[in-house]
């Protein structure tokens, strides 16, 4: 699977993550899934109700609003993203444990080195992690 993400959307995700430091930031991605391609058409910056540098929880009310918006013509829910303020871009044990949907992409933006943020995407199936390609264009 390849994820195509517009540069302006990437910049927004990065901005959101930097603004939420030292806590983790999170959000959802809507768009199209077509064969081996996921095209991100719209990103949703959500609140991390945990307000924690090591955990995140999406606000259920916001999630419902996002799903409604996606259904209004922005394709399907493609996945989610969250930041790792001080660890690498790889799913933590908790990330793996809470990844219940094998179809979704789990994007992690590492700000361990703030000058060189690293965004990666993963599919997670019963704690088995595989990385996906992301093209930021």
């Amino acid at each position: 699977m390849t994820i195509i993400l517009k540069k302006q959307d990437y910049d927004e995700i990065l901005g959101h993550a930097l603004m939420n430091l030292p806590n983790e930031a999170c959000g959802l991605l809507g768009g199209l899934m077509d064969g081996e391609v996921k095209i991100v058409k719209k990103i949703y910056l959500l609140k991390n109700v945990d307000q924690s540098p090591e955990h995140f929880t999406l606000d259920p009310k916001e999630q419902f609003a996002v799903i409604k918006d996606i259904r209004r013509g922005n394709g399907v829910l493609l996945g989610n993203f969250h930041s790792h303020p001080s660890s690498p871009s790889r799913p933590s044990e908790e990330d793996k444990r809470l990844a219940f949907d094998v179809e979704l992409s789990y994007l992690i933006l590492s700000l361990q080195d703030k000058e060189n943020p690293v965004l990666k995407s993963f599919r997670i199936k019963e704690a088995e992690v595989s990385e996906e390609e992301i093209q930021v264009i």
């Binding site: 195509i4 517009k6 540069k7 199209l32 391609v37 264009i137």
Partner: protein
């Protein structure tokens, strides 16, 4: 320039190719291809280039759509019979892809207008989709003199051929074929017939060359003549040498002006496209 959501979706199969990516797709959107002849070869070439998102496509043709064209000239439809081919072609492309700007030249190419047409939009690549030798030599000479790459294509009956000219990199059409054959020595498609798909096979190879040239990927058919026989299903790729005495592209070239060759009188009407 950034992509819209619709463009991302439309070109996603290109964008995920490592050889193309977003950069390559932008090159295509900024690319300019001139197609001379909107017939058997030009129709499929134009359609694939339009679908691929080549941003500017020039169509040259002075002919109108004839019912007998529709067996192979797939850019035109039954409702277009009687319409100028460049208009019919432009309408089809506009419906296919709003990203493409079509420039139409409703005229036959000749020695006095072809350089202006090529210069009009400073086209990156030219496709010869004509069906007669005077036009083929004229296109070759004009491209050599204006240092433009072009793809030659020709089809008749069950056979087709194509080669690509890159300035300073391999032979030109005249290196290989020297001069047009005597008028009427070779039958035209109108006289000899042509299997409809031949234009698709050769025309889409020509479109492939144009795309690869704009993208700067792969190897082109410069220094090669590719021939195809639909009855035996054989492709042959024949290596071609540069003619060091070529009168248009060699360093002994004597030709500085374009020539309009006589066309066999019987072929002047009604069609000049393959």
């Amino acid at each position: 320039m950034s992509f819209s959501n619709d463009q991302l979706e439309r070109y996603s199969r290109h964008i995920i190719l490592k050889e193309i990516g977003a950069k390559g797709q932008k090159k295509l959107l900024n690319g300019k291809v001139l197609i001379i002849g909107t017939g058997g070869l030009g129709a499929p070439a134009a359609m694939y280039l339009a679908a691929a998102g080549v941003g500017t496509i020039g169509l040259v043709d002075n002919d109108a759509v004839d019912l007998s064209n529709l067996q192979r000239q797939i850019i035109h439809q039954t409702k277009d019979v009687g319409k100028p081919k460049v208009i019919s072609g432009a309408e089809t492309i506009n419906e296919m892809n709003p990203d493409v700007k079509v420039v139409t030249y409703q005229e036959w190419v000749n020695a006095s207008n072809i350089l202006d047409i090529i210069r009009d939009k400073d086209y990156d690549f030219i496709i010869d989709g004509t069906d007669n030798f005077p036009a083929k030599f004229l296109i070759n000479d004009a491209c050599v003199l204006s240092k433009k790459p072009f793809s030659h294509g020709g089809i008749i009956r069950f056979q087709g051929q194509t080669m690509t000219y890159l300035p300073g990199n391999g032979p030109c059409y005249r290196c290989v074929f020297l001069n047009p054959p005597p008028a009427d020595a070779v039958p035209t498609c109108r006289q000899a017939g042509v299997l409809g798909v031949m234009g698709g096979i050769i025309g889409t190879i020509q479109a492939t060359e144009a795309l690869k040239y704009i993208l700067g990927i792969g190897e082109l058919l410069n220094s090669y003549l590719l021939t195809f026989n639909a009855l035996t299903m054989e492709f042959r790729k024949v290596k071609l040498p540069v003619n060091t005495n070529c009168k248009v592209c060699s360093n002994k070239a004597t030709m500085k002006e374009l020539i309009d060759y006589e066309q066999a009188a019987c072929d002047m009407k009604p069609s000049s496209q393959a």
